[in-house]
Symmetry: C2
Subunit: 338 residues, 2 copies
Amino acid sequence: MLSERRLQVLRAIVQDYVGTEEPVGSKALTERHNLGVSPATVRNDMAALEDEGYIAQPHTSAGRIPTDKGYRLFVDKLAGVKPMSPPERRAIQNFLEGAVDLDDVVARTVRLLAQLTRQVAVVQYPSLTRSTVRHVELLSLAPARVMLVLITDTGRVEQRMIDCPAPFGEASLADLRARLNSRVAGRRFTDVPRLVEDLPEAFDIEDRGTVSTVLSTLLETLVEENEERLMIGGTANLTRFGHDFPLTIRPVLEALEEQVVLLKLLGEAKDSGMTVRIGHENAHEGLNSTSVVSVGYGSGGEAVAKLGVVGPTRMDYPGTMGAVRAVARYVGQILAES
Amino acid sequence: MLSERRLQVLRAIVQDYVGTEEPVGSKALTERHNLGVSPATVRNDMAALEDEGYIAQPHTSAGRIPTDKGYRLFVDKLAGVKPMSPPERRAIQNFLEGAVDLDDVVARTVRLLAQLTRQVAVVQYPSLTRSTVRHVELLSLAPARVMLVLITDTGRVEQRMIDCPAPFGEASLADLRARLNSRVAGRRFTDVPRLVEDLPEAFDIEDRGTVSTVLSTLLETLVEENEERLMIGGTANLTRFGHDFPLTIRPVLEALEEQVVLLKLLGEAKDSGMTVRIGHENAHEGLNSTSVVSVGYGSGGEAVAKLGVVGPTRMDYPGTMGAVRAVARYVGQILAES
DNA sequence: GCCTGGCACTCTGTCTGCCCGAGTGCCAGC
DNA sequence: GCTGGCACTCGGGCAGACAGAGTGCCAGGC
């Protein structure tokens, strides 16, 4: 177990390193922090911290930098979440309130997060699987061609073109539309399959094929995972990464281009509360020198999607966590209102 | 006027520099290209080319590199467009044909372009202003709340929430929906305002307010320019830019994040034919050391949007132009089919 | 027992001087 | 107008020296 002072030393090292980007030595530490002890004592503490694996030396006779394990301890025990100041909160709220539609909400959220944290922001679109159906619309485009439009409570709209096995009259279509909506409107996606199961039986035999086709398209749309879109922004902030660029930045950019990777990344995060993955805790190799701070957000009490930021392990964790949490909260509010 | 051989020398310089990324000297040139003259002669030609501003020396006693003006001449006079090979064409077609909806078409196009050219790809969504209306749907969500869904011939769907000034019956809504569609379905966006102008007059006095509100929302949606979305990809290719990164890459990343900048960039390109903007020809400062190759694409003979790539001025112009042209052509085909 | 000041040691980053190679410009000759 | 030759310039790479920062350890003091 580490003594109180050693934890303080670790905290000081993390804070200084995050600020200066340079390995921090014992002398500088005592000068900048009121530890009440001399550099020599701090050196002893540092040696202990190094033995435990919390900090490391890039090379002999350099200062120390925190390891992933050190950051982990810092985040878990030594630092809280820095709340946003009232003016900041107001700015966030104002900025998000100007949004005109869902795309805009997401786009604004990305910008905001990127600006506040000066890092790369990732925002997942409110997910279909968690939300409820507001309305299903069926449009006849041709005798045997129907367009399905699904509107969700988060304001998202999905459309699918359907080629029917047989021509389908306008009356039958209206009938199907009415029955469908009375059953699924306001229901959660996960309940829909059960609710429409027996629907084909209510129709004439010659229409059943089409009804089934429409229903299965609807169900596909509901579960379609590749439709989990997301938006990223602030990649220019990657240039602040370190001085040894190309090698560091390239794999990160590559990872960010792969929506699949990002979705998995956000998916791995806890559903509730904030998740911080530090360095090698990230499964994806390209992100081994980054940390990901993510949190769920949603219109009700429930999270419908996640958002977060990707930055160097050497990041301002309290500030970043504060910003992420605040943004998630306000986005949730905006979604609930609209 | 430059002699034939001097043009050949310029062409050789561009080709070598693009290949090696290093200033090219007279000796290397004569070795790699069959110019039929000695290095000394080439040196004289180089001096002339430098006087004219086509090439430059990074410093005394280094080889020469092309200037923007040199690339311009190269693109205009010295190089053609390198056609894709049949296998490449087939690969492009196969890859694009797998797309399931418009989003997917655009996403695949971006990936494809980025991979083929190994540069940053930018694809504009088929623009609303050029296309036609397939269907307008109105849904009553609450007594005084209507959702407008606009479906375009390119498969794009836009939705807007409308708060009505007065409650609006289901019958009136159906009436409006029918009248609206009979007038605008299949028509170009630009014609819509004229076509719906007198529509409110057909309704009872108490409904006119709502009808007008709906119509104006529709018109807004049609012209809404900020809805000109685009997608980019291949930013990881920026890391191949040069060895002096941070300074070069940062402004480019920043420019790429600004949709407005990119839209303007594509907007500046000619409507037909391929546009190549080299280095300082780009209005945006951050892109002064990049070239942009763009071209319009569309489902019919007409361009509905643009796509292109952004790369270092030192790029393989013939190859890039070939890839951009080929992709645009096939995307056009895919859009026409769906 | 813990903290402290002092001292020797190590390593990095930087600066200097040096040399080599690549490339040029120019000139005289064919 | 082309060519070979020659002197000149400049950047890159390498070795050595040096200053600065930081450490580890030890003996002494509270």
